[in-house]
Amino acid sequence: MIARLRWVGATVLVAVAVLIPLVGLAVDSLRGSDITAVWSRSGVSEAVWFSLWQGALSTLAAVVVGLAPAWALSRFDLPGRRVALTALTIPFVLPTVVVGAAFLAALPDRFDRSVLAIVLAHVFFNVSVVVRTVVPAWSAIDEHLLDAARTLGASPFTVARTIVWPLLRPALTGAAGLVFVMCATSYGVVRLLGGPGRSTLDVEIYRRAVDLADVSGATVLAVAQSLVIVALFAVWSRSATHRTSISTARRRRAPIAVTAAVWTLVASFATVPGALVLASFRSASGWSTAGWRAVFTGGDGLRVPVDVGDAIVNSLVFAVLAALVAVPFGVALARAAVSSSSRLADFVASLPLGSSAVVVGLGIIVTYDTGVFDVRGEWWLVPLVHAAVALPFVVRAVIPMVEAIPPGLAQAAATLGASPGRRWLDIDLPLLRPALATASAFSLTMSIGEFGATSFLTRRDTTTLPIVVDTLLGRAGSLPHMTAFAVASVLLVLTVVAVTTVDRSVRA
């Protein structure tokens, strides 16, 4: 009963935060205009094509790069396993504007502002999706199953092809689908690292709405994009999953080569945040701690108007609120999706993914603008939107684990007299723990690092860390530059803390 209520909760969240604004904006801006006109305007078809092929390429790269560490982290008891998992999740949260600068500095000039730079950045951001989604699923594949195949004559490659791959496919295709959508609708990375000549559809939507005063055109594109993505997820066969036992086999110790390889990858990922932290100490004329001093003194006397304390508090509060909403709603939605194979659940869970932040933002101010519903400028819109943005990820992270819970366990508990609520608490929840850790980590980090929607919504006195970073990078001078990177480092630290805390408490 309670579960059903929360299913409704997720639907209401997505309706209020995304669907109604979209519809509201469509009604408002499409009145009397020609829906087909925008498709022939310059730049649009190129943007669609670029979104598709670049998205596919980036997805392929992210999956290939992410599979190896996912395998190592699932099958072995790697020294520093949890640290490695955390480290690979961090990129997801970093604001694009800051990562962009680090990337441009790290890449050889030839590749600056190219498709390669875009793909690399996408891999960097999205490997965490692959790893975090695949590891729980891969860990659930019993080692002995693979042994059985080997005794039947299957070479390691055949074992991978005939046993591991089919069992991993749901999680892997889920992760790939998610990564594809993220890359195809990518905004900041494409703008910054692709240079001004390259646009995905999201970039084009923004251009039309803001730069070209073509709100109706932007709305048409945004609605089309949302519809396509929702359809994609609905049609995407969540292939019939097979109840494997939750493997409780202890992991083997990792061979040295594997450990070395994983840690090399982690180290290479760490160069980006490393460059970030380094930049916070570098002024135009040498090294300095002035940026950090500005952070800790709130900019007093240094004339840099930055209330970092405020921004930290806001970012954290918003993140916790967003997670408190997104995780339970997402879990309930995941359970509904699995047990009823309902299409509505897929729709609800995927709508926020394909929605352009600027269109949703415009929709909010146009729709919620009368009388008691005039909530424009209210601070709580921000965590609400964050929760909606995080919801798809929570659902995707939790579904594979929900599917893997053997029904027999719950039935056993029932025969022992446990009520549905008790069964949920004692059986399902502990088994879902790893997925809940992932879901909470995603939710928190996405909120902490969210920029697009947050910056677009009009806010009174509610600034967040990514916005502070962006504002500082918009000013000339060594001090704002260093301070921006110092604040970005603070953001980085907060993410690490959030993710590790969640991991630890859920594993306790």
Binding site: A149, R150, L152, G153, T158, H242
Partner: protein
Amino acid sequence: MSLTVRSLAVTLEGRRILHDVSLHVDTGRTLAACGPSGSGKTTLLRAIAGLVAVDSGTVAVDGVDVTNTPTHRRSIGLVFQDNQLFPHMNVARNIGYGLRVLGWDATRIRARVDELLERVQLSDRRDQDVATLSGGEAKRVALARALAPSPRVLLLDEPFTGLDRPLHDQLSAMVERVLRDTGTTAVLVSHDPADVEAIAQSRIDLPPATNAP
């Protein structure tokens, strides 16, 4: 296909599990390996199959040393204690797995699978989802699957655990009959003397576990 194991020593995670174990099984005969729990019976089977590395000693099939041959080339089958049926395949596809790996064509595979289903009396379960099988049925599928590629040696790890007595006896008799009819060389791990009596012609006893490294 005789099996000879000489002075096998296996260490797992710092603990010496097997220490100087030797055994021999003649072609078509079954050997029972007995011992209290913790004596390394499962490890012995896994070592013979090549699933764990040995510290020292040799495993030879028909006189040929296979100690350094990878598992998938040893042609040594293993019926796991918990069956380990592939959840994404039905009964027929589970049984036919080893044959597909060998590259047999579909007709041959179908014929062989039918033959084995007949032997373990599961002909009417051909297309069933393995998750819905009872304990006894799953065991029979595991046995059929292991036998399908005609392994040179078959290892059975506590094959009748958790079954009620009548079913246990029924399966025990079936296993004995199948092994005899197919002339398979086998090693059976069991702590149940009735199984040893019914199926094996010889036995070894593994010493209880020591805490010595």
